[in-house]
Amino acid sequence: MKKILIIEDDLLISSLVQFRLKKDGYETHLVCDGNEGILAIDALNPDLIITDVMMPFRSGIEIIHHAKQSQPNTPIIVLSSLGEEEQVVLEAFNMGVADFIPKPFNPNELAIRVKRILK
């Protein structure tokens, strides 16, 4: 079973994403801030990371940076309301993220992208 780490400070959004991904048979883990996210990356060794950008303690960009150093082969999907800010999107892609989904988003669309990346 593929392991997905969801790093998102909005509990409702992360629960919705978790619910949708569980339906597709993935093992999901939720953390709600940047610090916990970095610890979880090292501890869980996930197959995919879904992360927000604006979060308490550590930003999503810092998380991507850490993930790319410790586990360079793990794909990352950025889920953020900063989708309209070109600078953030560019920075994320330059760091090697697999996908960038701007909020508002459709959880079903996210599930399709996850499936495609983990294929």
Binding site: D10, L11, L12, I13, S15, L16, F19, R20, K23, S81, K103, P104, F105, N106, P107, N108, E109
Partner: protein, 525 residues
């Protein structure tokens, strides 16, 4: 605990001054009583007495008296110094039996003082706790009645009255008590407020967690029509009836659904809107519109806008001319966004001037809805509010409504000069060549700002008449910048006339202006 502490402080404050006062009060003010009091004390440090006989001759029996040991002075005879007050009575009786008139003098630290000074000395000793008063019953003597008759009446509740009558002490005590009371009330109220806030926050978190599971399962497991057809009992199986009745739970539900609606796309949005109505939250939003706090009313408008509560629009309409800036801005935005047929009458009738922020906000919505709904912008030209009319003219320009140029021409003659400037800018932007007569009229205006605006419009849609007027204006103008603007407009209208005016002029400034206008590098400088 706090109560005990407060009462202890108050008690000490009341008791300490009273106790000291009581010690002092014990010393009698009357001379006879004071003497009896001293007899009771036996000896007082630093306080003594002697007898003085103010006579020229002293009886022989007293001359040799070893007890008194009288010595002669200028005014009479004085006895030796006594410290034991218990002997005073006996000594007095001896003198009375010998038929000698005498006077008792008090001596404080080897100095003869009056009775009142001796009393004050004793009071000071007591106050400084240097002398402990011996208390005892003064036994009635045979001259008790006569003594009593000499003693003036003093109230028995002297202790209490003295405390109250010493206004400085009383005021200070009251102030300290007041300070402690206010501080205590503030601490208690702060603690209770903090406790209440923590309780509310914890409850909100708890409700937030409880909402996640039913909301998630409803959004993923139910189709839109299934949510719309859900019975109340079924709804209550997801969201318990007793919780739904609680305002805090309703508030958390509204916040979560609105928040989720902003972050979701596709059919999830529709499901959330259907759920909002099924849970009866739409009624709460409409009710909150009339809340006395403006921020709550504005939040209700945001909820109506986000959840597309079209049925609330008649109520929303009532707030388009609200005295509160945020309420009326949000009400207008909601109406623009949700109205099936936006007739803009509600905007026309606004009495408050539109700020630039409001204009930008409304424009953003109108741009979005304008393509879907046929907006009758001309209604805004009939407004009694100048800022609304100007906004209407700007909308014609920004939305490119060429069909409304004729309407603008109809009102152009009778509007203010500020509106005329906007109309001129609109004519230039939309290329209204048929309106050159109005532009030429404005060029001739004594208002320089209007004349300059007309010149800018003439540069785009002007005719030969405009060129002639511009030539006249250039000749009469003395201000460099204005002359430059007119010349630039003339260059736009008629290049030949521009060359004629600038080259056939002896003024070297005109040549500089010409070079500046013709230089492509300096066009925007």
């Amino acid at each position: 605990m706090i109560r005990i502490f407060c009462w202890t402080i108050v008690g000490l404050l009341l008791f300490l001054p009273g106790w000291i006062q009581a010690q002092e009060d014990f010393i009698p003010e009357d001379s006879v009583e004071f003497r009896d009091f001293l007899i009771l004390q036996k000896e007082v440090t630093g306080l003594g007495y002697r007898f003085f006989i103010p006579e020229a001759q002293l009886p022989d029996s007293l001359h040799v008296d070893s007890l008194f040991q009288f010595s002669q002075t200028v005014s009479g005879f004085e006895s030796r110094y006594f410290v034991d007050f218990t002997k005073a009575k006996e000594l007095e009786n001896t003198l009375i039996n010998k038929g000698v008139s005498y006077r008792l003098d008090y001596i404080v630290l080897s100095e003869v003082v009056s009775t009142s000074a001796a009393q004050e000395y004793l009071v000071d000793l007591v106050r400084d706790a240097d002398y402990p008063i011996k208390r005892g019953e003064l036994k009635p003597t045979e001259d008790f009645v006569s003594l009593a008759s000499q003693t003036p009446y003093s109230p028995t509740k002297q202790f209490k009255l003295k405390f109250l009558s010493d206004y400085r002490l009383f005021v200070v005590t009251v102030m300290i008590i007041f300070f402690f009371l206010v501080a205590s009330i503030m601490i208690v109220s702060m603690l209770s407020m903090k406790a209440g806030k923590n309780k509310r926050e914890n409850l909100q978190k708890e409700y937030g967690k409880r909402i996640i599971a039913p909301l998630t399962s409803l959004l993923f497991e139910k189709e839109l029509h299934e949510i719309q057809e859900m019975e109340l009992e079924e709804i209550h199986s997801f969201f318990p009836k007793n919780l739904l009745a609680r305002p805090m739970y309703q508030h958390v539900l509204i916040d979560n659904i609105i928040g989720l609606n902003k972050k979701m796309k596709g059919d999830f949005k529709e499901k959330l809107k259907a759920l909002y109505k099924k849970l009866g939250l739409d009624k709460i939003s409409i009710k909150t519109l009339h809340h006395k706090k403006w921020d709550r009313a504005t939040m209700a408008l945001v909820q109506i806008n986000e959840m597309d509560l079209v049925e609330a629009l008649p109520e929303v309409k009532k707030f388009t001319n609200s005295t509160n800036f945020h309420v009326r801005s949000m009400a207008v935005a909601t109406l623009l966004n949700l109205s099936e047929k936006v007739d803009l009458i509600f905007l026309r009738d606004q009495t408050y001037p539109l700020s630039l922020w409001q204009q930008m906000n409304y424009l953003r919505i109108i741009r979005f809805v304008g393509s879907q709904k046929g907006l009758k912008l001309e209604i805004l030209f009939d407004s009694k509010n100048q800022s609304i009319r100007i906004f209407g003219i700007k909308l014609v320009r920004i939305l490119g409504r060429v069909d409304l140029i004729e309407k603008l021409a109809g009102i152009a003659g009778g509007v203010s000069e500020e509106e005329k400037e906007e109309i001129l800018e609109t004519y230039a932007a939309l290329g209204a060549y048929m309106e050159t007569a109005f532009i030429n009229d404005c060029l001739k205006s004594s208002n320089r700002a209007l004349s300059l605006a007309a010149a800018k419009a003439a540069a785009v849609v002007g005719d030969s008449g405009s060129a002639d007027i511009l030539v006249d204006l250039i000749g009469a103008e003395t201000v460099f910048r204005k002359k430059h603007s007119y010349l630039k407009s003339l260059y736009g209208v008629d290049k030949d006339k521009f060359a004629e005016v600038t080259l056939n002029n002896a003024n070297p400034e005109m040549l500089e202006l010409r070079n500046h206008i013709l230089d492509p590098m300096l066009q925007n400088v």
